[in-house]
Amino acid sequence: MAEAIAGSVHDGDTVAIEGFTHLISFAAGHEIIRQHKRDLTLARLTPDLIYDQMVGAGVARKLIFSWLGNPGVGGLHAVRRVTEGASASLELEEYSHFGMVGRYTAGAMNLPFFPLRSYFETDLPVANPLIRPIRSPYGDDLVYAVPPLEPDVAIIHAQRADEQGNTQIWGLLGCQKEAAFAAQRVIVVVEELVSDDVIRADPNRTVIPGLIVEAVVVEPFGAHPSYAQGHYDRDNRFYIEWDAISRDADLLEQWLDEWVYGVAGRAEYRDKLGDERLDALRPGSSPSGSVDYGDYR
């Protein structure tokens, strides 16, 4: 992980650690903090705890987002501290969810904009002048356009990939595919490295091809405290605890010292959490039915 982040993430970059509630690469976010990256523009539909931690650690200059909260719990207090009142210092560029998805899609497809039927009669285009109304070239229809988003780096956590970076995801797919294809560089972080045969046995499940992947990092529980479908549940206790930690700048600093700067990497973080806590997050089993692709020769 240290090598992948050092090689792909540079000060001033636009970084997208995607994953909608599911499969959020906290492991990569923590490594970015440990390497003291600076002036990053952080893009994500839902900044979640990981960007609250990264903003609290001082790596970010700007957020590009569509929903800023601790899902199911409340606010992101480190972000709020630098976005409220006269001392607001973090730059915000905000959209709706579909606007963000459209931005990645335009980026992935090499298009100059993405049209959508959102934003009518709202204050969002006033707050963010990059959201612009356009007329259809085929009639009078009014739609809104959002510009392409092409992150320097997209970091995607997944259940499994092979050594070439062919990556399979199940459960919520969010907009990882769009973000990965839009990015200049892609880092994939997986629960499990598998052989090429495993990938080829179920090609419909491949979301990101190795073709666009720069680095594959194996990091079990790398999405903790978020979750990985079929592997572990969200550690909701931490999402609740984070509310109190992030309200207090000193507590947040202590937390970073202990859980980010104070560990060499994810293996030490896992050891520190302990098997009992991690085992309690493992779900019961609900396997997919299998399909027969057929053998054609």
């Binding site: 009142g85 969810h97 998805v101």
Partner: protein
């Protein structure tokens, strides 16, 4: 459903009444886009009571969810296992929502005005807000593209305001013109049709203005007027909301919200 058993007003909380009243409004609806927070529990209660065929749609990319526990958030893994379909967010927002397949979008809000316009972005000035709220998420496009919109929120003078600080999700705009503007601009949605609070239930009149139709048990008109910034239009025949049945309360307390996160 079994016939309602009488439950005394002292035996349920205002939040429980709000959730139960919200769930009942979904009777007869088919496809519901479930918003963050209170809508989540209200819609899941409806699925267990008045709308057992309801298709739950989550913006995270799920159609036809069958959650085995109350989802902790709208991205909980329990909405995936045994769902009808899991899609990318591109498909969910593009094909299902913007494609016109959503009957009801169920939203929460920080501020609402008498026309059902919603703010979930900031309190105060946008550049230097006193409170930075989460922002749109999918709410802006749900308010425009869902065929109708239900809103559930706790009522106070700070939340039911003359003028919202930021329009995140359009409702009936300025009132009577709202329907015309929606039509002319080609929006699929007809806008908000019901607002459920901890005090009562509102629908909208022909002019697009919120009208109090029902007071929850034990709540007076004065209580309601004390918790909103405008003088509400009131139905000619203002009724009392039927109290929660024992079964509705059991589902809320013992099945959906066992930790009292939404109902405290």
């Amino acid at each position: 459903m079994s016939p309602p058993e009488p439950v005394e007003a002292a035996d349920f909380s205002a939040s429980e009444m709000m959730i139960v009243a919200a769930a009942r409004e979904l009777a007869g609806r088919h496809v519901c886009f479930v918003g963050v927070g209170l809508p989540n529990i209200a819609v899941n209660l409806a699925k267990l009571t008045v709308a057992t065929d309801l298709e739950l749609v989550y913006e995270a990319g799920v159609f036809g969810a069958r959650p085995a526990r109350l989802p902790l958030s709208i991205g909980d893994p329990t909405i995936v296992t045994r769902a009808t379909a899991v899609t990318s967010m591109f498909e969910l927002f593009g094909f299902y929502l913007q494609g016109g397949l959503i009957d009801v979008g169920f939203l929460g809000a920080a501020q609402i005005d008498r026309f059902g316009n919603i703010n979930s972005t900031v309190i105060g000035d946008y550049a230097h807000p006193t409170t930075r709220l989460p922002g749109s998420g999918g709410a802006c496009e749900i308010a425009i593209n869902a065929r109708e919109v239900f809103v559930i929120m706790r009522q106070s003078r700070r939340s039911f305001v003359h003028r919202i600080d930021f329009r995140t999700s359009p409702g009936n705009l300025g009132g009577a013109d709202g329907a015309r503007i929606r039509r002319e601009q080609g929006w699929l949605g007809a806008g908000p049709s019901v607002v459920i609070t901890d005090l009562g239930v509102y629908h909208f009149d022909a002019g697009g203005v919120m009208r109090l139709d029902s007071l929850h048990p034990g709540v007076t008109l004065e209580d309601v007027q004390g918790k909103m910034a405008w003088l509400p239009a009131v139905a000619d025949r203002l009724i009392e909301t039927a109290p929660p049945t024992a079964e509705e309360l059991r589902l809320v307390r013992d099945v959906l919200d066992t930790e009292g996160i939404y109902t405290r």
